[in-house]
Each structure stands twice: as C-alpha cells, then as structure tokens.
Symmetry: C2
Subunit: 385 residues, 2 copies
Amino acid sequence: MIYADYNGSSPLLPEVSEYLTKRIHSHLFANPNAIHSMGQKINMGIEKCREMISQVVGCHPDQIIFNSGSSEGIANIFHSILNLKDQTKKKIIISPIEHAAVMNAALYYKEEWAYELIFTPITEDGVIDTKKVEELILKNQTELAMICIMSANNESGVIQPIDKIVPLAQKFNIPFFSDTTQTIGKHAFHFEKSGVDYAVVSSHKLGALVGAGFIIAKNPVTIKSLVFGGGQERGLRGGTQNYLGIETMAIALKIFSERTSQLLQLKLARENFEQEIKKLCPEVVIFGEKADRLAGTTLLSFPGIHGQAVQIELESHDIFATTSAACSDNQPETSKVLLSMGVPDDIGRGVIRLSLSFSQGQKEYSSLAHALKSAYTKLSKIKSY
Amino acid sequence: MIYADYNGSSPLLPEVSEYLTKRIHSHLFANPNAIHSMGQKINMGIEKCREMISQVVGCHPDQIIFNSGSSEGIANIFHSILNLKDQTKKKIIISPIEHAAVMNAALYYKEEWAYELIFTPITEDGVIDTKKVEELILKNQTELAMICIMSANNESGVIQPIDKIVPLAQKFNIPFFSDTTQTIGKHAFHFEKSGVDYAVVSSHKLGALVGAGFIIAKNPVTIKSLVFGGGQERGLRGGTQNYLGIETMAIALKIFSERTSQLLQLKLARENFEQEIKKLCPEVVIFGEKADRLAGTTLLSFPGIHGQAVQIELESHDIFATTSAACSDNQPETSKVLLSMGVPDDIGRGVIRLSLSFSQGQKEYSSLAHALKSAYTKLSKIKSY
C-alpha cells in the first residue's frame, strides 16, 4: 500500500503510534487545569511540548496558542484582525489560491463586515506575482487591514515567495497572515525569520493525532478569543487543552526536524518520477513545474482523461491519492487554484494529486510511475471526455 | 488510586483504551473528505458514530454538529444567536452559576454587543428559582434573545429544573440553550424530550479522547459557522473532522447507555458516604444537599479548614480531587457558584469537590470516607483560618 495523500492528511507517524500505545495505558488522564498532581503533570507536559515545538518552528513558546487545528486558527486570526469596532482599514490583499478555510473566512468578512478583497495575480506556474503584489500594497497601503498569502499551496505544492512581500508589509505595519498548514512539519519554516505575524498548524497534517493545532502569533495579545472557555492558553483560547494532541504534535515535529535532510532525497526522487511520466506521456501537464514546490507534491493532468478515473486505477494498485484538495474532491469542475493559474477545463478535469512525505522516496515513486503508466495505457484508449 | 475528579475530566474508559490500542495499529488514517476508499471508510465511520450518538442522546443524526468540545460549542451557539445584524432582542436570561465558558461568552456579548444579562435567582441549595425565572420571562419576553441555563452544575452537581422553564420559552419562541456538558454521558438526558434548542458535549468528560465534542441543535440551520474551514459538517463547522475523537465518543456514550442502571447504585453509595461524613463532622456543609444532584458529585466544606489542605491530604491517600472547577482552582476565593448560593467566605474557602463516575461506587466511597476522616482529624487540630 502506498499512501499518497499527505497534503490531505498524514497517517500517524510510527513514533507517534508507539508513543500513543504506551500513553493510553499510562492512566495519566486528567484536566490539565486541575490542582491535583495528575493535572499538574499533564500541564507541565503541555508546557514542555510548547517549548519543544517552539524550537522546531522558530518562535518563542509564548507565541504558540494551542487550538483544534488550522481551520479554527484561521477563523481566529481573521476574527482578531477584522472583528474590531475600531478597524477603519477595510481592504485585504489575498491570494486567489488560498485553501477554502481561508477563502471562506475572507468571504464572510467581505459579506458581513464589508471588507474588500483584493486578489493577487498568479502566474501560470501557480506563484503569486510578487511585483504586482508590491504594487497593490503601495497603492492601498493606508487602507489595508491585512495581507493573506499561504506559504505553500495544498493542491500544486507551489511554495509562495512570501519573503519577498513581508518586508513591504512590515514597512507599512500591515498584519501578514500566512497559512502554513502545508509547510510547518513538511518543509523548512522558521517563524521568526519568515517575518509573518500569524501562522497556523494542523496536527493531522504532521502525523500527530487529528483534532489539534496551534496559532503562532508574533504578538499574542493581538489574538482575540474566538472560543472563550475558562481562561486557558493565557486567556487567548479557552477549553480544556487537547493534551494528547499537543503531546503527539511535539513528537511529530521533533521527528520532522531530525529528518529534514530526507526532503532533498524526496525532491530528487519526485523530479525523476516527473521526468519518467513526461517520457510516458509527453502531453502530461505538471502544474507549477518550473516553480519551487513542496518536496513530495506533484499535481498532474493527462489531458482528456478524467482525474477520478486515474485515481480509481491507482487505487486498484493499492495507491491512495486524490484528484484535488479533499474539500473539493466531490466537485467535478476545475479547482479555483487551477482557474487562477489559467488552466483550461479539459486539463483541469484531468487532475490527480500525488503528495508524499519525508518518510517516502524512490521506492514509492517507482511504484507510482509503474501504476500511472498502467493507468495511462488503459485509460488513454478510452478517453473519458 | 482513586480518581475523584470526573466533573473536571474523565480518564479514558477501559473500552475506549482497548479500542484505541487496536485503532492506532489499523493504519486507517486519512482525510474523511478524500475521495479514495480510505477517506470514504473513515467518513462512513463518522456517519455511523453520528447515528449511534443520536440514539443515546435522543436526537436526529442531522442535529449533531461535531466540533472540538463544549467551549467551542458554547461560543458557536452564542455567535449563532447573538452575532446577527438583525437581532433586535437584546436581553439574555442566564443563571449566575454557569460554567466560565458560558459566562465568558455572555460577558463578551454584553461588552461588545450591548446585550443585557438578566441573572436568575438561585436558592441556597444551588437550584434556579423557577418561579422567579418564569416571572423574568413573562416580564421580558418580547426582548429576550435567549435563555441560558445549564442542565447540571459542574461544582455542586445540582441538576437544574430546566424542564420547568422550557415550556414558557417555547411558548414565546425564545431560543433555549442548556450547557449539558455535565449531564450527557453522566446522567439521563434526552435531547428531544428536554425541549431545549441547543446542547453541547465535550469528549473528555465522557471518557473519550480529549479534543472533540458536538453541538446538538434542534434546528441545525440556525447554526452560523464560527470555524469556516472547507464546508465540513454540512457547512456548519469547517475543519477536518476529529474522527478518532468522534469514534471514541460513540463508544463512550454507548457504554454509558448500557450502564445507566449503575447510576442509582452510585447515588445510594454517595448518600451513605455523605451521612457518614456528617457523623464524623456535624458542621460539615454539603452544598445542594437537599437538591437533586448528579449521582456521583459531592461538594462539601469543613468550615475553617482550607479546601486545598484537604485536597493535599486526600492526595497523600492516592485520591485525586479538586477544590472547585478546574478553571478556578488556582483562585483561593469562594467560587461564583457558591456566592450565588449565598455561601459565606469561611465556608466557601473550605470547599472540596468529589466527583465519581458510574464505573465507581461503594468501594471508592468507603476509601474516600476513610481518607476524609483522617484528613479531618489531622487538619481540625490546626485550622488554617
């Protein structure tokens, strides 16, 4: 079996499974806010995890606010910046390739709070056009409430050059939020060096237990509670902390930090794989081919062959991949990300996403190439559209 | 070891631990929204759990909206009812003994949205005064945006007679939210029969994995997204579903439903225990003594002996209890719940909460009585205030 949907969700890392197996039988379960020693032990564990995580992601422990994952983190960041009675700046620069969790938050503030969304142009390689974004910032700088550009796209894997934009945002004191769900724990990322004001993480993308995550905030007091609860996380995010989620995130991020060197091998294996597929089918489209991408992500299309047909063929080879982002998998039309890149519908409908992790490499890509070859040979005879 | 802090958080039920041990090694981890068969299997599992849970809590499966727990559920319900531009009704009837997660949400809407909070009177037994609440409803009915009364108090365990209030709320179409965090999975509760419009659940109070929960909404379309995400939970709560949390909640609630008969034994054991403590120390105060309470909750005070001193003594007997709600444990003053009941400070500071589960009974209460006797004998000689 090859799991090739890491951008959708990661299975538990073996180290996390091993930890959990023991942890479940430790009988140490309690409310981390209780005064008895069981509660205090768990609470100290949370703080140790915060420290461990802060070292991997390059921030101060106090800049981490644990929550239930990126979707909550995104909603909370928008709420913190935009749901303010004295917010007079009413424009948001946002990339059109943001994940639905970001786009839906932005649309809510457009519709209910009258914010204006200014979309950044995207090159055909799926990269934000930094020159044009700079122009947009200069033109609107006194009116910008925030800038919102993801660090890597979940569909194409294309890494966005936010480092080129951040200095200008900083110059004008415009809050910069980058959805880092696809980079933290998967790609080199250092919060402090990135210069962004807000970043988010989901545990299930890291190989930790599903249902946890955190915000990293340069200035945590700017976070306005979305979930009130009983004053947990220094009053910034209420609710009993998901300590098992937090413990497993610390383990997963530590494992990642010890294995970042494997990312280069993964990338080389992916590049070889893509060359092989191009030999097999010269008309194949690899989205963001010339751009810097996440080491293990390939978004490709065999024009005229429906992505879902390829996905089903791959599954008959025990390979699990998707046609697009999980949230839009059930929609047969071309994704908004691809539309932003100017992809026509006959190519957009043929899309299949293969996303691997640092624990995979040459072996998995050989199997993927073999299975894709078989799928292509079969399906190209009976083109579906 | 006796764990006596079930109102704070429940350890994993043995059946949940057993399930998880196998589940972790099943290798079935994926995004439930992915189109491949792993995602679909998990998704079908979620729907099966929704069905199982709906049977235990007495609602339609579609009325369940999974989230990260009660604190989020509470914030989401307040947001749904109160964060509306066309909400012209600006008064809320709320009990003063609500959990901090509810009270902090209410205070936010008071401060930022100009809602007026009308507090219900509380009897000295910790019960809402239903006659006076009825008067308040009649007096303010055209201006009431919501009524908010918990089903059982987390500190005293006192069950609130919401069934006496609900018909009047229904008559005037006033949304009724009851914080059921301490009752669902711990006490008989049937959503439909209760007549309330909204209820909430936290997984970690049930003996399931920490970090999950759900809202039950009579009319789910009245829920306004707080966490946008990618359209999960029929667009009502975005974010990849915490499927392991959901699976364990279904198991925990099923176990509870099979063992509700044990609650009566637990209650009898608690009553015997309280009689024994009263013989030991006739001046002991048992809060809500004459009221209907959760089967396993006793909130008591030895006047003049600090609750924390008792807690530490209990811990030396390997008994884990708290002085109050987890969230306010670090505050040495009398809790707001006790102040509402008219408890003076010399009694309020002596409080210790013992909260057991349906899996405990006579044996645990005998050990508790023994340990409390020893603590009282020791501490009454050196009264701390």
